[in-house]
Symmetry: D2
Subunit: 359 residues, 4 copies
């Protein structure tokens, strides 16, 4: 049930870290969209493991197969089934934790909920599931591209190392030119060193992914419960390891007076209503106002570390969990395309909902 996302552009993901395959069924994609396989694969490549020495060394090509919904290179309006076979499952790496609960993992809570769990690599709770989201999100991006909407995420913080430069002063395209995905090359190098050092200690560290969506016209988003930023928040918080979300002025906006925080309107030379500032983050009353939408997503340090930790086993007895397996010391570089994918899924759904409103 909870593996389904979206109202009109609806995705259903499936698959465990060490099962036969992961995948997604996308139901509700408009017909006639050119299905650009290379574009989708490129986003999967941005997420896949093994990109550099600061990401997990699991080897997955993450090559996807199209099972349905595409005919003669175009979407047909019917469900698009995509599958990514799992290639490099070292399930025996996990036999040692088949009876242990890894601290701050989902092992205990899944067991408490379901009575059983697929312990191999975290099973369904593994972030490997997000590959399916990235594939679906890339298709959503293709729909949005036709509408002039683009989405660009990047790493703005690793541990205590923050890049404070506002996004307007950055060349976001540079983010893809380094392994950390930070658009400031100098900070990127420091971040790389920070993560690499953490990796050598067998530890992990958190980070922040920032995201900017441009070209969204005024009117997307729904009032009351399904506000645009509320859905963005849910979508981001549904990504593994996320602990917080803020948009526009965010938590810092709390400290401002209304007279400082309000975004005054003006009419620009083209006759378009604009705001002089954008502390609103492009959203007012849950509905886009035509300005850039931007937000920040906080990721905790990943739970798996290469150190011994105290825990209990499934019988409630004390146990020591030793770090094995292959894991990321810092999740944010690979999280960048995931954040973008979820943003694309949110936006395309609100676009379709808004189309329906044009009665």
């Amino acid at each position: 049930m909870s593996s389904t996302y979206g109202t009109l552009f609806k995705i259903s993901t499936f698959g465990e870290s060490h099962g036969k395959a992961i995948g997604v069924v996308i139901d509700g994609c408009p017909a006639g969209i050119t299905f650009d396989e290379a574009f989708i694969q490129q986003d999967l490549d941005r997420r896949k493991p093994g990109q550099s020495r600061i990401t997990t060394q699991r080897k997955e090509s993450d090559t996807f197969q199209v099972l349905s919904g595409v005919f003669e290179g175009k979407t047909t309006g019917t469900p698009i089934g995509l599958m990514i076979p799992n290639e490099d499952q070292r399930s025996k790496d996990y036999s040692h934790i088949s009876e242990q609960f890894r601290p701050s993992h989902a092992d205990y809570t899944y067991t408490a909920k379901y009575g059983v769990r697929d312990y191999r690599g975290g099973g369904r709770s593994s972030a490997r599931e997000t590959a399916a989201r990235v594939a679906a999100g890339a298709l959503a991006k293709l729909v949005l591209q036709q509408l002039g909407v683009s989405i660009q995420a990047y790493v703005s913080q690793v541990g205590k190392l923050k890049m404070e430069t506002p996004y307007q002063q950055l060349n976001l395209a540079l983010a893809e030119e380094n392994a950390v995905r930070c658009p400031d090359p100098e900070v990127a190098e420091q971040m790389f060193a920070y993560i690499d050092e953490t990796r050598k200690k067998g530890d992990s560290i958190g980070g922040v992914v920032s995201c900017v969506c441009t070209g969204v016209p005024a009117g997307w988003g729904e009032p009351v419960f399904d506000k645009l930023h509320a859905e963005l928040g849910k979508a981001m918080l549904s990504i593994n390891a996320v602990k917080g979300f803020e948009y526009g002025s965010g938590f810092a906006g709390v400290e401002q007076y209304g007279s400082e925080h309000n975004d005054e309107y003006y009419t620009d030379e083209t006759g378009k209503v604009r705001t002089r500032t954008n502390l609103s983050g492009g959203i007012q009353g849950g509905i886009s106002n035509g300005e850039d939408i931007y937000f920040r997503v906080a990721f905790k340090p990943v739970a798996t570390i290469m150190q011994d930790q105290e825990s209990v086993d499934v019988h409630g007895n004390p146990a020591v969990v030793s770090g094995k397996g292959r894991h990321d010391p810092c999740v944010v570089p690979r999280a960048v395309p995931i954040v973008e994918a979820m943003a694309a899924l949110v936006l395309v759904d609100f676009y379709l909902l808004n189309q329906a409103r044009k009665a």
Copy 2:
């Protein structure tokens, strides 16, 4: 569409600030719950305007009427219709803005989306809608009480004034003993002065509401997209003026190493699996682990201020918006029961979903 919330405990709210009434239909409340009208009214009273001089002076008793779904003092399992008549609409206070877009309000975005808007008091975008949520949330609390779950929110920050004391060291019951709803009486006084001063300047200021949920057993929440904290995040971000959400360690957790951040397990004297720390905020992999759930919600300064602001009118011409009407200089004291209500709605829904899983 977007005025409906919940999967199994489903609420549909309706009503504008200056219409005939606001209300809610609650579909899916279990049968046989004692419908404690006084309890529900009490939560409405905590949210209603006019509680002190630091809240809006609009006079609404917010007395609710039961239209359906309750028989002989108990819920029957059928939809519960609740209605709160609007009593003190001074719609003419708003005629001056019928053709203007108030900065950082939803005036412009509603117009962009729908072509029309009920400009009286913000219409549907008014926070008055949240009274309906509070009524529904109070009923959700009654269901949760039977299960030993309780929810307590409080104000932890007003503008730059932060109360840093961890919740475990506070007597949260004290929050209800002052107008600000801060459980530290000394800080509460400072906050009151801060807000009152802001009010006198005709300005507004932001704040943070913190919330703690105790007694939630392990196993609530769903994996992948409908994680417990993702739904909490969406629910909170759907409240008017909210700009950010974080749970457990939140944004601060970013700066920690995994070896610091992980919550180690142990078995307590009763045989229950517990964690020694709780940076996870009671949730792992989107599912509750039996520890306290806690989170923070950032509210921006409310947009209506008693000062002139530059803007445009519906024809795109420059306009000066003058502050009139009756508004809160700081929204957080009245937001406390709203945060609790939304948390209750999230939790009761996951409880019911979890019941369904017990096949």
Copy 3:
């Protein structure tokens, strides 16, 4: 939960037969629709009790109140709350059955499901709930009218008395000129006598309502599970006392060969693709083809009769249920606007969904 209907034009009904009021919240109605109160009231009047001596003598004016969502005579895109106060509850008429299960009523099944029930007049299971549907459906009709879609239902059978004339040879407008709502005045008279005779015997009788929808363009409806006729079927079967649904050739089509049953295509003088016959009932593969949509709905005899019947009480002891209260001897004349309302709700929802598809 189950009192909510629709995906984009979503209605939530509430209310018991003998509670304070019944009503509906309509979420997702497009903005800018002229809210024609007289039109809506007219449909309610067609459904209301006491229209003639062959309907129940309960006196309800069924006058509705608008609580929200309408501003300056037009819909605003926000939830429309409508309420119909109950006026003539003779709840004491029902005290005798507070502990009995009336045969073929929902008394027993509600008790089995919920443990409690509001026994007054059937509570939520009463067909009085359909007044809320009729109000919402009338609004849906107003949306459809703008698109050139019209819906006309009529009575085509009462007990064994069938009107076999195909709808194309009838003047359907005549249906509203008699108490039975049969468009053949002669048959209508016979039906009236049939029902009246049944009434005098203290008995009840079944009937069939037929319905024709004209002006639906090709392309409405969704493939696979949400086929247009599948939703129509669900919508009709959700009306109290309905036992069957068929569209196009229906059960009779079973006996035909494909060579007889297939509707051959041709291009008409305007260049529009048409079918020469219409055994498909205007729907192929679950999607409208531009021809008339027509279907038939079977209603059983209403369960309440003015005769003694054997039953059991809530303790499982034998009991004799004596018919009291005020009831319809035949439900179909008043069911005509309900069938139309549900058809309108189905069609408007598919219209909006189809709008969303136009990406």
Copy 4:
């Protein structure tokens, strides 16, 4: 969107007749169910083509693969991905209709809706999609078996040839012993001859599938819109070629008086409340009453016939469609497991919803 079915036991099907594969993702299956692959394959075998000379000669083994959600032979509560590769696609059989609209097929309506269509074998509109439903439905049956619920469908009519014997007087197990799936061996032979003769004429013929569900306890189903029989109706009408649905007394019940039609209650020797007759079909007020649930489903003659038919092409020009490809002369024998599957999906969903209600 419309390829998703169910509220708590939710399935998403995908795949075209001549694409790479068809399949289904099942989200919400309870954890801990023994995943009996042989049982599921057996139901797929009952639906697969080529079973006898009266079914299509397309050769598909319909062997399914498990992609996820099953661990050590049990369901884990996570999404179960099942895939059935397409083996015998003779897509060139369809090149002749790539520009033609086959009468009473979905060719024209899909084109009208989506602008494009996968014309190979009907693409998504092909009944091949139902294999995915049968696989999911078989899993639903496994859940229901644990609760003592069983579902048995059978063929009760082919063309004008009706088997009128009430199901209580039949040995339904005999249905699986002949190619027609009629439990009366003598009638089955006549039906076989009827269908075979139709096949030889290059024509097709309709039929009726009846279905009986036993062991459903009182209390399943939801009031108002999601009545048990309304969902059954929708589920059945969503099957390709279905034109009508009736349950209990159905259309025939229309002709009865209430005094004849009402099912009187009594308490049986075990203390269980029962009804003496069962014209209600096991459902009252949309909720099961503990008696057998039974219903009938009308299937039209399949549209593809081996005869020339007049039609138009995609340009609106006259065209003659000649029957090619491999098709069933009568769909009902293979529809039996599909009807059962949909019934199982409806029932398991209501079971889970009812579990949630037990607050």
